[in-house]
């Protein structure tokens, strides 16, 4: 029973096409039933279709009857057969049939307007005719329809109830029905019996004596079924084995058809392989169906569970009125509401302001927020809110809450009527304190650090040995941030305050910030200079563009002068110079990148507007105060040199006129030329050192830019020197470019051309 459902050997001889064509749907059903019943006969099981597959019998304990004799006091070998009612029934089967016939005839002769009955009578007789030569139900010859069995034998005998009662005891219809959905096979088997129930006159019509019928279910449904089975049994008695096998195939074919697919009969039986394929497909399909069913049941189960939960919770529906909900909302919102969002919810306010105007140009990507833009964004946000009617309501409510909070700002606890305990009114502004830090110690420390009496440390007051304490540097950076934040806040509130007062405050804060920058500390007292120390910390770099936004021209000049004068000491200069192998730590490269992105742009902007006099002075200072060969090895150093050189060149050519600057005087140009020559002479024979190692992955564009700036201002002789020095590098780069992918090569060539174009040449002119 393992291979196929019916326990047949499913590897059967190939079917011939005749058999296949015979397999229409209705035949399939018939065959199915026959097939099944035949099997039942062979295996000696009873006709109960379901019971045939019931493994209950296997569980019976057949052994251990050694003491039966003792127990029952009988000779067990000498068992009578008086309990075998079937046998005795068989004995009278003949009579029963006769009686049935008799009964039917009697009904026929009796006047009846039951059309159905009339119609079915021939069917009934056919039923018994068919069994000629067949095996009888009970295994002994039951001789069918002997014409001599005339109805007169027992004319008054009612239609035999025995047959139904016997069958019925085996086969209560209820069991069968229950088992129906279990297997499609069975469903199929039973179809005929359900489709034509009235093949036998309904038993209500028959004068069944009370108590003669089986207990339990009414015989109506049962009777026709039994007859049907009997009929089919008898009909199939002489069927051949091959026929049966065909029908097995058809069972499966019918099954497939049942599952919504057309029965793939044509493929069937063409070859054995095809059949096997078919079977495999069937099994697969069956698995899929089962899976689907499982999924369906799972879904259904979940849905039910959800519904059950919902229904469970439904009893709490409407427990809170809208008023209650509003009240709770108010309690929650009151924690978040503030009349000064910029101080209490700074991050949110600025963040939204920035997000709301992504298109608005900002001064470099480094700037977290433009000070002026914040207020604008804030306003717009309010307008947006106002346009939403729902938000208006909330706003009004919020306003009320704010006023409430203002009226009693001290309370940190709230007891509600009827509530157990108190509701803490801790908020972001007033959190529950977990740590009690004594401020006494820090106070004394501060006072110690700044005996001058300021409330904050008068920072990098240079320690005795002349080295600035790193902590003090950090402290002064924070002080700068503090001033910058205040300044930015002030800018946001510019419209709100009186102009005079505002200006006063602003100037005061700018001065404070300037003080904190420590730019004006005398050079040489400490090393490095405090301002340089600030610039050596990344957050110090980051604050510079925000500082410079509030600086005036003089402060700018002072700052850049101080920077240039102490350039060597900058971390991005002194540590960012690679050795012979050009290895620079990634963290330092990041610092360089940060410096280029934060500090350089505002300075570049300043220099781009500076007159030649200032540029001249700065470059002179640069050369004098620093080891220019050393500085020229660093990216930042080259950037500064390039900045000065190109600005001077623009001014020399009268570019300053557009900016409202007077044309540079002859004397200034002379001075510049002098400075340039000094620079050139110092760098001569060292130009190649500015390049990063040839094989490194560092983009050397900044070097070519510098060389270009040098070349533009150079005399013919200087140009010649320049070309001679870097000639090798140019050729190497061009050769390298011919071997690498197109896009990278283009970039390399463009870099080289920066320099070559300044000389009036082009990389394409080079002969390699």
């Amino acid at each position: 029973m393992s291979d196929s459902y019916f326990g047949f050997d499913t590897t059967m001889p190939p079917l011939n096409s005749d058999q296949l064509t015979a397999g229409t749907a209705e035949i399939t059903e018939d065959e199915l039933s026959k097939n099944f019943e035949e099997f039942a006969l062979e295996s000696g099981q009873d006709f109960g279709c379901d019971q045939g597959f019931d493994p209950l019998a296997d569980q019976l304990v057949e052994t251990g009857d050694d003491y039966n004799e003792e127990t029952f006091g009988n000779d067990i070998t000498n068992i009578g057969d008086d309990f075998d009612f079937t046998q005795s029934n068989a004995k009278i089967a003949d009579t029963i049939q006769k009686e049935e016939k008799l009964y039917v005839d009697r009904r026929k002769s009796a006047p009846s307007d039951n059309n159905e009955l009339l119609r079915q009578r021939p069917l009934f007789s056919n039923l018994w005719d068919d069994q000629s030569g067949g095996i009888s139900v009970n295994g002994n010859g039951s001789y069918p329809n002997d014409p001599t069995n005339d109805p007169k034998t027992s004319p008054l005998m009612p239609e035999s109830p025995i047959s139904p009662s016997i069958w019925g005891s085996y086969h209560p219809p209820s069991t069968r029905k229950e088992s129906l959905p279990r297997h499609h096979h069975e469903t199929n088997l039973h179809h005929p019996s359900y489709e034509n129930p009235p093949t036998y006159p309904p038993s209500q019509i028959s004068p069944l004596p009370p108590g003669f019928g089986p207990p339990g279910p009414p015989p109506t449904a049962r009777v026709p079924t039994l007859e049907e089975i009997e009929k089919q049994l008898q009909r199939q008695a002489g069927q051949s084995l091959t026929k049966r096998m065909l029908s097995l195939a058809e069972v499966e074919a019918a099954l497939l058809g049942l599952n919504g697919r057309p029965p793939p009969l044509p493929i069937y039986g063409q070859t054995e392989g095809a059949y096997r394929e078919q079977e495999a497909a069937f099994l697969e399909q069956e698995a899929a169906i089962r899976e689907q069913e499982v999924m369906y049941y799972e879904r259904e189960r979940k849905r039910r569970e959800k519904q059950r939960k919902l229904a469970d919770m439904a009893k709490y529906n409407g427990l809170m009125t809208q008023n209650d909900k509003d009240y709770i909302n108010r309690i929650q919102i009151s924690q978040l509401v503030t009349d000064d969002p910029y101080s209490d919810d700074f991050y949110y306010q600025i963040y939204t302001a920035i997000r709301n105007r992504p298109a608005q140009p900002q001064m470099g990507t480094f700037s977290p927020h433009a000070s002026g833009g914040g207020a604008m964004g804030h306003e717009r946000r309010h307008r947006n809110r106002g346009s939403e009617s729902g938000m208006l309501k909330v706003q009004q409510q919020v306003l009320r809450i704010v006023n409430d909070v203002r009226r009693k700002p001290k309370s940190t606890q709230l007891s509600l009527e009827g509530a157990l305990g108190k509701i803490a009114l801790n908020s972001v502004r007033n959190p529950r304190q977990l740590l009690q830090v004594s401020t006494k110690h820090t106070d004394t420390h501060q006072n110690h650090a700044s005996p001058s009496g300021g409330s904050h440390q008068k920072v990098p007051s240079i320690s005795s040995h002349g080295v600035v304490d790193h902590r003090k540097v950090l402290r002064s950076i924070e002080n700068i941030y503090w001033a910058v934040l205040r300044l930015e806040e002030l800018k946001r509130n510019q419209e709100r305050e009186a102009k005079d007062k505002w200006q006063e405050k602003y100037t005061e804060l700018v001065n404070k910030m300037w003080e904190e920058l420590l730019v004006t500390e005398p050079i040489g007292v400490s090393f490095p200079h405090p301002f340089i120390s600030i610039l050596s910390v990344s957050k110090g770099k980051k604050v510079i563009p925000r500082v410079l936004r509030h600086c005036n021209k003089d402060q700018f000049t002072t700052l850049i002068t101080m920077l240039v004068a102490n350039f060597e000491a900058l971390d991005v200069c002194k540590t960012a110079i690679g050795g012979s192998n050009g290895n620079i730590k990634q963290s330092i490269l990041d610092e360089v990148e940060l410096f280029m992105n934060t500090v350089v742009p505002p300075l570049l902007q300043f220099v781009a507007e500076a007159p030649l006099k200032i540029v001249n002075g700065l470059l002179t200072l640069f050369i004098e105060r620093n080891n220019i060969i050393w500085v020229a090895k660093s990216k930042v150093g080259l950037a500064f040199l390039t900045m000065f050189l190109s600005r001077a060149e623009i001014l020399k050519q009268g570019g300053g006129y557009m900016q409202g600057l007077p044309l540079p005087e002859e004397r200034e140009i002379m001075q510049w030329q002098e400075t340039y020559n000094r620079l050139f002479n110092q760098l001569q024979t060292y130009f190649l050192l500015s390049f990063p190692p040839f094989m490194s992955n560092i983009d050397d564009m900044y070097v070519w830019q510098f060389l270009a700036a040098m070349a533009v201002g150079a005399s013919m002789e200087q140009q010649h020197i320049l070309v001679t020095e870097v000639r090798e590098r140019v050729l190497e780069t061009v050769v390298q470019a011919s071997r690498i992918p197109q896009d990278k090569a283009t970039h390399k060539i463009t870099n080289v051309n920066l320099f070559l174009h300044a000389l009036g040449l082009d990389a394409s002119q080079l002969k390699i």
Binding site: Y347, Y351, P368, H369, H456, Y481
Partner: protein, 92 residues
């Protein structure tokens, strides 16, 4: 601005770290998460069946936010401002 609907990781004081979609946060920083999974599934297999949760704010150690949703520079400024709030006398 709001991180509701974004994926966050909440680390609790019992070292359990839960990743899930943020549903809501209240003034106690109680947190509701949806579609959750525990970061160390092997260690806490009993959490595999849990699909959403409410976390009492007091048991939260850290909330890890998606980096793209946080402006760190601005956050630093905000922290500086908070440090300058009236309770602490501002440096003058």
């Amino acid at each position: 601005m709001t991180l509701i609907g974004q994926q966050v990781t909440v680390e609790l004081k019992n070292d359990l770290a839960i990743t899930g979609i943020l549903v809501s946060v209240d003034q106690f920083l109680n947190i509701k998460l949806d579609d959750i999974h525990v970061v160390e599934e092997q260690k806490y297999p009993h959490m595999m069946a849990v699909k959403n949760c409410f976390i009492r704010g007091s048991v939260v150690r850290y909330v890890k936010l998606p980096a793209s949703a946080v402006d760190t520079a601005l956050l630093q400024d905000a922290a500086r401002r908070e440090a300058q709030q009236p309770t602490v006398p501002a440096p003058r």
